[in-house]
Protein backbone atom coordinates (compact mmCIF):
# COMPACT_ATOMS: atom_id res chain seq x y z
CA UNK A 1 0.00 0.00 0.00
CA UNK A 2 1.96 2.95 -1.15
CA UNK A 3 0.71 6.46 -0.86
CA UNK A 4 -0.03 7.98 -4.17
CA UNK A 5 1.10 11.48 -4.83
CA UNK A 6 -1.05 13.24 -7.34
CA UNK A 7 1.06 16.19 -8.30
CA UNK A 8 2.33 16.09 -11.80
CA UNK A 9 6.04 16.58 -11.67
CA UNK A 10 6.18 19.52 -14.04
CA UNK A 11 3.95 21.97 -12.21
CA UNK A 12 4.84 20.71 -8.78
CA UNK A 13 5.85 23.20 -6.15
CA UNK A 14 6.81 21.94 -2.71
CA UNK A 15 5.03 22.97 0.44
CA UNK A 16 7.25 23.70 3.39
CA UNK A 17 5.78 24.38 6.78
CA UNK A 18 8.03 26.34 9.10
CA UNK A 19 7.22 26.52 12.79
CA UNK A 20 8.95 29.57 14.23
CA UNK A 21 9.27 30.67 17.81
CA UNK A 22 7.74 34.05 18.42
CA UNK A 23 10.76 35.73 19.92
CA UNK A 24 13.67 34.86 17.69
CA UNK A 25 12.88 33.01 14.50
CA UNK A 26 9.52 34.56 13.74
CA UNK A 27 11.10 37.93 14.41
CA UNK A 28 13.97 36.85 12.17
CA UNK A 29 11.34 36.27 9.49
CA UNK A 30 10.00 39.76 10.15
CA UNK A 31 13.53 41.06 9.80
CA UNK A 32 13.89 39.29 6.46
CA UNK A 33 10.70 41.05 5.41
CA UNK A 34 11.70 44.44 6.72
CA UNK A 35 15.01 44.11 4.88
CA UNK A 36 13.09 43.11 1.73
CA UNK A 37 15.06 39.91 1.37
CA UNK A 38 13.40 37.37 -0.78
CA UNK A 39 12.85 33.68 -0.41
CA UNK A 40 10.55 31.16 -2.09
CA UNK A 41 6.83 31.42 -1.38
CA UNK A 42 6.79 27.67 -0.80
CA UNK A 43 7.55 28.31 2.84
CA UNK A 44 4.64 29.09 5.11
CA UNK A 45 5.21 30.03 8.69
CA UNK A 46 3.22 29.03 11.75
CA UNK A 47 3.99 31.03 14.85
CA UNK A 48 4.51 29.25 18.16
CA UNK A 49 5.47 30.96 21.40
CA UNK A 50 8.64 28.93 21.82
CA UNK A 51 10.27 26.13 19.92
CA UNK A 52 9.64 24.03 23.02
CA UNK A 53 5.95 24.26 22.14
CA UNK A 54 6.69 22.03 19.16
CA UNK A 55 5.08 18.72 19.66
CA UNK A 56 6.43 16.08 17.29
CA UNK A 57 2.80 15.43 16.49
CA UNK A 58 2.54 18.84 14.81
CA UNK A 59 5.42 17.85 12.59
CA UNK A 60 3.88 14.54 11.64
CA UNK A 61 0.54 16.20 11.08
CA UNK A 62 2.15 18.54 8.59
CA UNK A 63 3.60 15.58 6.72
CA UNK A 64 0.24 13.81 6.84
CA UNK A 65 -1.48 16.80 5.38
CA UNK A 66 0.94 17.13 2.51
CA UNK A 67 3.95 19.13 3.62
CA UNK A 68 7.02 18.17 1.63
CA UNK A 69 9.31 19.58 4.26
CA UNK A 70 9.00 20.78 7.83
CA UNK A 71 11.28 23.23 9.56
CA UNK A 72 11.30 24.10 13.23
CA UNK A 73 13.18 27.25 14.11
CA UNK A 74 14.00 28.63 17.52
CA UNK A 75 16.33 30.95 19.36
CA UNK A 76 19.98 30.04 19.53
CA UNK A 77 20.83 27.95 22.58
CA UNK A 78 21.26 30.23 25.53
CA UNK A 79 19.08 32.94 23.99
CA UNK A 80 15.71 31.36 24.63
CA UNK A 81 13.17 33.94 25.69
CA UNK A 82 11.97 31.41 28.21
CA UNK A 83 15.57 30.65 29.14
CA UNK A 84 15.61 26.88 28.72
CA UNK A 85 13.01 26.02 26.09
CA UNK A 86 15.37 25.42 23.22
CA UNK A 87 17.67 23.25 25.33
CA UNK A 88 14.75 20.90 25.76
CA UNK A 89 13.92 21.19 22.08
CA UNK A 90 17.43 20.20 21.14
CA UNK A 91 17.06 16.91 22.93
CA UNK A 92 13.47 16.26 22.00
CA UNK A 93 13.77 17.01 18.32
CA UNK A 94 17.21 15.45 17.90
CA UNK A 95 15.74 12.20 19.13
CA UNK A 96 12.64 12.68 17.03
CA UNK A 97 14.51 13.66 13.89
CA UNK A 98 16.58 10.53 14.04
CA UNK A 99 13.47 8.45 14.67
CA UNK A 100 11.72 9.97 11.67
CA UNK A 101 14.77 9.33 9.53
CA UNK A 102 14.87 5.79 10.85
CA UNK A 103 11.44 5.15 9.43
CA UNK A 104 12.58 6.25 6.02
CA UNK A 105 11.99 9.98 5.73
CA UNK A 106 14.92 11.72 4.05
CA UNK A 107 16.92 13.80 6.53
CA UNK A 108 16.42 17.02 4.57
CA UNK A 109 12.67 16.84 4.92
CA UNK A 110 12.68 17.65 8.57
CA UNK A 111 15.10 20.19 9.93
CA UNK A 112 15.64 22.25 13.03
CA UNK A 113 17.49 25.56 12.91
CA UNK A 114 18.41 28.27 15.36
CA UNK A 115 17.64 31.68 13.89
CA UNK A 116 17.82 34.85 15.96
CA UNK A 117 15.64 37.89 15.51
CA UNK A 118 18.52 39.76 13.90
CA UNK A 119 19.29 37.03 11.42
CA UNK A 120 16.92 38.05 8.65
CA UNK A 121 19.51 36.98 6.14
CA UNK A 122 19.87 33.60 7.76
CA UNK A 123 16.11 33.20 7.83
CA UNK A 124 15.87 33.90 4.11
CA UNK A 125 18.85 31.68 3.34
CA UNK A 126 17.52 28.76 5.34
CA UNK A 127 14.13 29.01 3.67
CA UNK A 128 15.73 29.10 0.23
CA UNK A 129 18.08 26.31 1.11
CA UNK A 130 15.30 24.11 2.44
CA UNK A 131 13.17 24.79 -0.63
CA UNK A 132 16.01 23.85 -2.95
CA UNK A 133 16.71 20.65 -1.09
CA UNK A 134 13.07 19.66 -1.11
CA UNK A 135 12.76 20.47 -4.79
CA UNK A 136 15.68 18.16 -5.42
CA UNK A 137 14.01 15.41 -3.40
CA UNK A 138 10.67 15.78 -5.12
CA UNK A 139 7.19 15.44 -3.61
CA UNK A 140 6.92 13.65 -0.30
CA UNK A 141 4.64 10.65 -0.31
CA UNK A 142 5.85 9.22 2.93
CA UNK A 143 3.47 9.59 5.82
CA UNK A 144 1.14 11.57 3.63
CA UNK A 145 -2.57 10.94 3.98
CA UNK A 146 -3.82 10.59 0.43
CA UNK A 147 -7.33 11.48 1.54
CA UNK A 148 -6.37 15.06 2.37
CA UNK A 149 -5.64 15.72 -1.28
CA UNK A 150 -9.27 15.17 -2.14
CA UNK A 151 -10.30 18.01 0.11
CA UNK A 152 -10.31 21.60 -0.98
Amino acid sequence: MSTAVNENAAGWEPLIVAFCCNWCSYAGGDMAGTSRMSYPANVKVIRVPCSSRMSPMFILRAFQRGADGVLVAGCHPGDCHYSTGNYHVRRRLSAFKRLVEFTGVEPDRFEVRWISSSEGDKFADEMADMTNKIKALGPNGKMRDARWQNIT
Binding site: R147, N150, I151, T152
Partner: protein, 338 residues
Protein backbone atom coordinates in the same frame (compact mmCIF):
# COMPACT_ATOMS: atom_id res chain seq x y z
CA UNK B 1 -18.84 -29.58 -9.89
CA UNK B 2 -15.63 -31.18 -8.73
CA UNK B 3 -12.23 -30.10 -9.95
CA UNK B 4 -8.62 -30.81 -9.17
CA UNK B 5 -5.36 -28.95 -9.65
CA UNK B 6 -1.78 -30.00 -8.99
CA UNK B 7 -0.30 -28.09 -6.09
CA UNK B 8 2.52 -26.63 -8.12
CA UNK B 9 -0.01 -25.18 -10.54
CA UNK B 10 -1.81 -23.22 -7.86
CA UNK B 11 0.15 -20.01 -8.54
CA UNK B 12 -1.20 -20.04 -12.07
CA UNK B 13 -4.70 -20.37 -10.74
CA UNK B 14 -4.16 -17.46 -8.32
CA UNK B 15 -2.74 -15.32 -11.06
CA UNK B 16 -5.73 -16.14 -13.19
CA UNK B 17 -8.25 -15.47 -10.42
CA UNK B 18 -6.66 -12.18 -9.49
CA UNK B 19 -7.10 -10.97 -13.03
CA UNK B 20 -10.88 -11.22 -12.50
CA UNK B 21 -10.73 -9.04 -9.39
CA UNK B 22 -9.05 -8.84 -6.01
CA UNK B 23 -8.13 -12.28 -4.68
CA UNK B 24 -7.68 -12.57 -0.95
CA UNK B 25 -5.77 -15.46 0.52
CA UNK B 26 -3.61 -16.33 3.52
CA UNK B 27 -0.28 -14.63 2.90
CA UNK B 28 2.77 -14.90 5.10
CA UNK B 29 3.51 -11.35 6.21
CA UNK B 30 6.49 -11.20 8.52
CA UNK B 31 5.91 -13.56 11.39
CA UNK B 32 2.17 -13.90 10.81
CA UNK B 33 -0.31 -15.06 8.19
CA UNK B 34 -3.00 -12.62 7.10
CA UNK B 35 -5.69 -12.53 4.45
CA UNK B 36 -4.34 -10.10 1.92
CA UNK B 37 -4.82 -9.40 -1.77
CA UNK B 38 -2.68 -11.60 -3.95
CA UNK B 39 0.36 -10.02 -5.59
CA UNK B 40 3.19 -11.38 -7.68
CA UNK B 41 5.68 -13.03 -5.36
CA UNK B 42 3.36 -13.24 -2.37
CA UNK B 43 4.19 -16.09 -0.01
CA UNK B 44 0.93 -18.00 0.22
CA UNK B 45 0.64 -20.11 3.33
CA UNK B 46 -2.11 -22.70 3.00
CA UNK B 47 -0.68 -24.82 5.80
CA UNK B 48 -1.28 -22.23 8.46
CA UNK B 49 -3.82 -23.44 10.95
CA UNK B 50 -5.42 -20.02 11.15
CA UNK B 51 -4.61 -16.53 10.00
CA UNK B 52 -3.60 -14.16 12.82
CA UNK B 53 -6.64 -12.02 12.15
CA UNK B 54 -9.89 -13.53 10.94
CA UNK B 55 -11.00 -12.91 7.36
CA UNK B 56 -14.08 -11.05 8.54
CA UNK B 57 -12.09 -8.12 7.17
CA UNK B 58 -13.46 -9.02 3.74
CA UNK B 59 -17.01 -8.19 4.70
CA UNK B 60 -16.52 -5.81 7.55
CA UNK B 61 -13.30 -4.04 6.63
CA UNK B 62 -11.35 -2.49 9.43
CA UNK B 63 -11.92 0.79 7.65
CA UNK B 64 -14.67 1.57 5.18
CA UNK B 65 -15.52 4.96 3.76
CA UNK B 66 -19.17 5.25 2.94
CA UNK B 67 -19.78 8.87 2.09
CA UNK B 68 -18.23 12.18 1.15
CA UNK B 69 -19.68 15.43 2.42
CA UNK B 70 -19.27 18.98 1.35
CA UNK B 71 -20.82 22.21 2.56
CA UNK B 72 -20.85 25.44 0.67
CA UNK B 73 -22.75 28.16 2.39
CA UNK B 74 -25.89 26.49 3.67
CA UNK B 75 -25.79 23.76 1.02
CA UNK B 76 -24.85 20.29 2.18
CA UNK B 77 -23.91 17.76 -0.43
CA UNK B 78 -23.47 14.06 0.42
CA UNK B 79 -22.13 11.45 -1.99
CA UNK B 80 -22.23 7.75 -1.12
CA UNK B 81 -19.27 5.62 -2.09
CA UNK B 82 -19.60 3.37 -5.15
CA UNK B 83 -19.63 -0.41 -4.53
CA UNK B 84 -16.34 -2.16 -5.20
CA UNK B 85 -15.55 -4.85 -7.76
CA UNK B 86 -16.20 -8.59 -7.13
CA UNK B 87 -13.79 -10.30 -4.79
CA UNK B 88 -12.62 -13.86 -4.33
CA UNK B 89 -11.66 -15.18 -0.90
CA UNK B 90 -9.45 -18.22 -1.07
CA UNK B 91 -8.64 -20.60 1.75
CA UNK B 92 -11.16 -19.59 4.40
CA UNK B 93 -11.28 -22.27 7.10
CA UNK B 94 -14.65 -23.70 8.22
CA UNK B 95 -14.60 -22.00 11.62
CA UNK B 96 -14.09 -18.59 10.01
CA UNK B 97 -16.86 -19.21 7.53
CA UNK B 98 -19.14 -20.25 10.33
CA UNK B 99 -18.28 -16.98 12.02
CA UNK B 100 -19.28 -15.10 8.90
CA UNK B 101 -22.64 -16.79 9.06
CA UNK B 102 -22.96 -15.52 12.60
CA UNK B 103 -22.15 -12.03 11.34
CA UNK B 104 -24.74 -12.41 8.59
CA UNK B 105 -27.42 -12.75 11.24
CA UNK B 106 -26.37 -9.42 12.66
CA UNK B 107 -25.94 -7.45 9.49
CA UNK B 108 -28.47 -9.12 7.22
CA UNK B 109 -30.87 -10.72 9.65
CA UNK B 110 -33.07 -7.67 10.17
CA UNK B 111 -34.56 -4.86 8.12
CA UNK B 112 -32.99 -2.90 6.72
CA UNK B 113 -29.89 -4.96 6.16
CA UNK B 114 -26.53 -3.28 6.40
CA UNK B 115 -26.05 -2.18 2.81
CA UNK B 116 -22.29 -2.02 2.92
CA UNK B 117 -22.01 -5.50 4.39
CA UNK B 118 -24.60 -6.91 2.10
CA UNK B 119 -22.95 -5.53 -0.97
CA UNK B 120 -19.59 -7.01 0.02
CA UNK B 121 -21.15 -10.31 0.92
CA UNK B 122 -22.87 -10.57 -2.44
CA UNK B 123 -19.80 -9.45 -4.26
CA UNK B 124 -17.56 -12.10 -2.76
CA UNK B 125 -17.03 -15.69 -3.79
CA UNK B 126 -15.74 -17.73 -0.88
CA UNK B 127 -13.47 -20.69 -1.48
CA UNK B 128 -13.35 -22.48 1.85
CA UNK B 129 -10.52 -24.77 2.74
CA UNK B 130 -10.85 -27.78 4.98
CA UNK B 131 -8.33 -28.05 7.81
CA UNK B 132 -5.45 -30.43 7.36
CA UNK B 133 -4.15 -29.79 10.87
CA UNK B 134 -5.18 -28.29 14.19
CA UNK B 135 -3.09 -26.68 16.87
CA UNK B 136 -3.62 -26.97 20.65
CA UNK B 137 -5.94 -23.95 20.54
CA UNK B 138 -8.35 -25.16 17.89
CA UNK B 139 -11.56 -26.17 19.66
CA UNK B 140 -14.17 -25.68 16.98
CA UNK B 141 -15.54 -29.12 17.72
CA UNK B 142 -17.33 -27.63 20.69
CA UNK B 143 -19.33 -25.40 18.36
CA UNK B 144 -20.47 -27.92 15.79
CA UNK B 145 -17.93 -26.89 13.24
CA UNK B 146 -16.60 -29.63 11.02
CA UNK B 147 -13.00 -28.85 10.17
CA UNK B 148 -13.43 -30.79 6.99
CA UNK B 149 -16.49 -29.03 5.70
CA UNK B 150 -17.87 -25.53 5.52
CA UNK B 151 -21.55 -25.50 4.61
CA UNK B 152 -21.69 -21.84 3.72
CA UNK B 153 -18.93 -21.94 1.11
CA UNK B 154 -19.35 -21.17 -2.56
CA UNK B 155 -16.60 -23.67 -3.20
CA UNK B 156 -15.22 -26.20 -0.76
CA UNK B 157 -11.54 -26.94 -1.21
CA UNK B 158 -9.33 -29.65 0.19
CA UNK B 159 -5.59 -29.73 0.19
CA UNK B 160 -3.48 -32.85 -0.10
CA UNK B 161 0.26 -33.21 -0.41
CA UNK B 162 0.30 -32.84 -4.15
CA UNK B 163 -3.01 -31.39 -5.21
CA UNK B 164 -6.00 -29.29 -4.33
CA UNK B 165 -9.57 -30.29 -4.85
CA UNK B 166 -12.52 -28.00 -5.41
CA UNK B 167 -16.18 -28.72 -5.08
CA UNK B 168 -18.65 -26.02 -6.00
CA UNK B 169 -21.57 -25.53 -3.64
CA UNK B 170 -23.31 -22.56 -5.22
CA UNK B 171 -23.87 -21.18 -8.66
CA UNK B 172 -21.38 -18.45 -7.94
CA UNK B 173 -18.88 -21.14 -7.08
CA UNK B 174 -19.62 -23.19 -10.12
CA UNK B 175 -19.24 -20.15 -12.33
CA UNK B 176 -15.87 -19.46 -10.88
CA UNK B 177 -14.65 -23.01 -11.43
CA UNK B 178 -16.09 -22.87 -14.89
CA UNK B 179 -14.21 -19.86 -15.99
CA UNK B 180 -10.93 -21.18 -14.63
CA UNK B 181 -11.16 -23.41 -17.63
CA UNK B 182 -8.18 -25.54 -18.49
CA UNK B 183 -6.36 -24.79 -15.30
CA UNK B 184 -8.59 -27.25 -13.51
CA UNK B 185 -9.21 -30.84 -14.33
CA UNK B 186 -12.27 -32.90 -13.41
CA UNK B 187 -11.79 -34.66 -10.10
CA UNK B 188 -12.76 -38.26 -9.37
CA UNK B 189 -15.13 -38.76 -6.45
CA UNK B 190 -12.88 -40.97 -4.31
CA UNK B 191 -10.21 -38.30 -3.88
CA UNK B 192 -12.54 -36.41 -1.54
CA UNK B 193 -12.44 -38.81 1.36
CA UNK B 194 -10.48 -37.35 4.30
CA UNK B 195 -9.24 -38.14 7.75
CA UNK B 196 -10.88 -36.16 10.51
CA UNK B 197 -8.70 -33.56 12.20
CA UNK B 198 -8.49 -33.86 15.97
CA UNK B 199 -9.30 -30.60 17.77
CA UNK B 200 -8.63 -29.68 21.39
CA UNK B 201 -11.02 -30.71 24.13
CA UNK B 202 -11.24 -28.21 26.95
CA UNK B 203 -13.96 -30.17 28.63
CA UNK B 204 -16.62 -27.53 28.10
CA UNK B 205 -20.30 -27.79 28.90
CA UNK B 206 -21.93 -25.28 26.57
CA UNK B 207 -25.45 -26.55 26.62
CA UNK B 208 -27.65 -24.40 28.78
CA UNK B 209 -24.82 -22.00 29.41
CA UNK B 210 -26.63 -18.97 28.01
CA UNK B 211 -29.65 -19.67 30.16
CA UNK B 212 -27.47 -20.26 33.16
CA UNK B 213 -25.64 -16.97 32.69
CA UNK B 214 -28.80 -14.91 33.07
CA UNK B 215 -28.39 -15.04 36.81
CA UNK B 216 -24.68 -14.53 36.83
CA UNK B 217 -24.37 -10.88 35.96
CA UNK B 218 -23.24 -10.16 39.50
CA UNK B 219 -21.43 -13.42 40.00
CA UNK B 220 -18.30 -13.05 42.13
CA UNK B 221 -16.40 -14.92 39.41
CA UNK B 222 -16.28 -11.68 37.45
CA UNK B 223 -14.27 -10.06 40.26
CA UNK B 224 -11.45 -12.46 39.60
CA UNK B 225 -11.79 -13.03 35.90
CA UNK B 226 -11.24 -9.48 34.73
CA UNK B 227 -8.21 -8.77 36.87
CA UNK B 228 -5.53 -9.92 34.49
CA UNK B 229 -7.14 -8.19 31.51
CA UNK B 230 -4.94 -5.41 30.13
CA UNK B 231 -7.84 -3.94 28.22
CA UNK B 232 -5.86 -4.16 25.02
CA UNK B 233 -8.58 -5.33 22.67
CA UNK B 234 -6.46 -7.90 20.87
CA UNK B 235 -9.17 -10.52 21.41
CA UNK B 236 -11.82 -8.41 19.75
CA UNK B 237 -9.65 -7.50 16.79
CA UNK B 238 -8.57 -11.04 16.00
CA UNK B 239 -11.98 -12.52 16.82
CA UNK B 240 -14.04 -13.64 13.83
CA UNK B 241 -17.36 -12.94 15.52
CA UNK B 242 -16.69 -9.47 16.96
CA UNK B 243 -18.33 -6.87 14.78
CA UNK B 244 -18.39 -3.57 16.66
CA UNK B 245 -17.45 -0.50 14.74
CA UNK B 246 -17.15 3.23 15.18
CA UNK B 247 -17.98 6.02 12.77
CA UNK B 248 -15.59 8.88 12.28
CA UNK B 249 -15.09 11.80 9.91
CA UNK B 250 -11.95 12.78 8.13
CA UNK B 251 -11.58 16.30 6.82
CA UNK B 252 -12.69 19.65 8.12
CA UNK B 253 -15.95 21.38 8.90
CA UNK B 254 -16.84 22.01 5.30
CA UNK B 255 -15.56 18.95 3.51
CA UNK B 256 -14.46 15.42 4.14
CA UNK B 257 -15.44 11.81 4.24
CA UNK B 258 -17.22 9.60 6.73
CA UNK B 259 -15.99 6.11 7.43
CA UNK B 260 -16.56 3.29 9.82
CA UNK B 261 -13.79 1.29 11.41
CA UNK B 262 -13.41 -1.50 13.90
CA UNK B 263 -13.88 -0.66 17.53
CA UNK B 264 -13.66 -2.74 20.66
CA UNK B 265 -15.82 -3.10 23.73
CA UNK B 266 -12.60 -3.55 25.68
CA UNK B 267 -11.88 0.18 25.38
CA UNK B 268 -13.07 2.74 27.86
CA UNK B 269 -14.07 5.11 25.11
CA UNK B 270 -16.32 2.55 23.49
CA UNK B 271 -19.22 3.36 25.76
CA UNK B 272 -18.31 6.88 26.74
CA UNK B 273 -21.22 9.20 26.23
CA UNK B 274 -21.20 12.77 25.05
CA UNK B 275 -21.72 14.10 28.52
CA UNK B 276 -18.78 12.15 29.85
CA UNK B 277 -20.73 9.40 31.58
CA UNK B 278 -19.48 5.88 30.97
CA UNK B 279 -21.75 2.94 31.84
CA UNK B 280 -18.79 0.57 31.63
CA UNK B 281 -16.15 2.57 33.40
CA UNK B 282 -13.73 -0.19 34.38
CA UNK B 283 -12.20 -3.32 32.95
CA UNK B 284 -14.55 -5.51 34.93
CA UNK B 285 -17.66 -4.24 33.17
CA UNK B 286 -15.94 -4.47 29.81
CA UNK B 287 -14.68 -8.01 30.27
CA UNK B 288 -18.13 -9.02 31.45
CA UNK B 289 -19.71 -7.36 28.44
CA UNK B 290 -17.48 -9.14 25.98
CA UNK B 291 -18.01 -12.59 27.42
CA UNK B 292 -21.69 -12.19 28.14
CA UNK B 293 -22.20 -10.91 24.65
CA UNK B 294 -20.61 -14.00 23.18
CA UNK B 295 -22.19 -16.43 25.59
CA UNK B 296 -25.54 -14.97 26.58
CA UNK B 297 -26.75 -11.89 24.70
CA UNK B 298 -26.04 -13.18 21.21
CA UNK B 299 -27.51 -16.63 21.88
CA UNK B 300 -30.61 -14.98 23.32
CA UNK B 301 -31.28 -13.39 19.96
CA UNK B 302 -29.74 -15.82 17.52
CA UNK B 303 -29.91 -19.05 19.44
CA UNK B 304 -26.25 -19.83 19.09
CA UNK B 305 -23.08 -18.95 20.98
CA UNK B 306 -21.06 -16.24 19.26
CA UNK B 307 -17.89 -18.26 19.29
CA UNK B 308 -16.61 -20.72 16.72
CA UNK B 309 -13.61 -22.10 18.60
CA UNK B 310 -11.05 -20.70 16.21
CA UNK B 311 -8.67 -20.27 19.15
CA UNK B 312 -7.38 -16.86 18.14
CA UNK B 313 -8.00 -15.27 21.52
CA UNK B 314 -6.22 -18.17 23.19
CA UNK B 315 -3.28 -17.68 20.90
CA UNK B 316 -3.08 -13.90 20.98
CA UNK B 317 -4.02 -12.73 24.44
CA UNK B 318 -0.78 -11.44 25.95
CA UNK B 319 -1.87 -12.53 29.42
CA UNK B 320 -3.67 -15.76 28.50
CA UNK B 321 -7.12 -14.58 29.45
CA UNK B 322 -9.48 -16.14 26.91
CA UNK B 323 -12.97 -17.36 26.30
CA UNK B 324 -12.22 -20.89 27.52
CA UNK B 325 -11.10 -19.52 30.85
CA UNK B 326 -14.23 -17.41 30.99
CA UNK B 327 -16.56 -20.29 30.15
CA UNK B 328 -14.94 -22.43 32.81
CA UNK B 329 -15.11 -19.70 35.42
CA UNK B 330 -18.81 -19.25 34.69
CA UNK B 331 -19.87 -22.83 35.18
CA UNK B 332 -19.31 -24.03 31.65
CA UNK B 333 -16.97 -26.86 32.58
CA UNK B 334 -18.14 -30.44 32.55
CA UNK B 335 -18.19 -31.73 36.09
CA UNK B 336 -17.32 -35.23 35.06
CA UNK B 337 -16.64 -36.64 31.69
CA UNK B 338 -19.30 -38.97 30.52
Amino acid sequence: MKKIIAREKLPELWAHLSEQGPLFLPIQDGPVVLFQPWFEGAEINLDAVNSAVSPKDLFLPREETFMHYRCSGKQLEMTPVEPGEPVTAFGVHPCDLKAIELLDRVFLGQEPPDALYQQRRENTTVIALSCSAADPFCFCGDFGVDPADAPGADIMAHLSDDSMLFESRTEKGAALLEQAGDLLADAPEETFSREAVQTADFNLQLEGLAENLKDRFDDPAWDQLYKSCLGCGVCTYVCPTCYCFDVEDFGHEAEGERFRCWDSCMYGHFTEMAGGHNPRPERKERVRQRFLHKLQYYPEIHDEIACVGCGRCLRSCPVNLDIVQAIKALGGEKIEKR
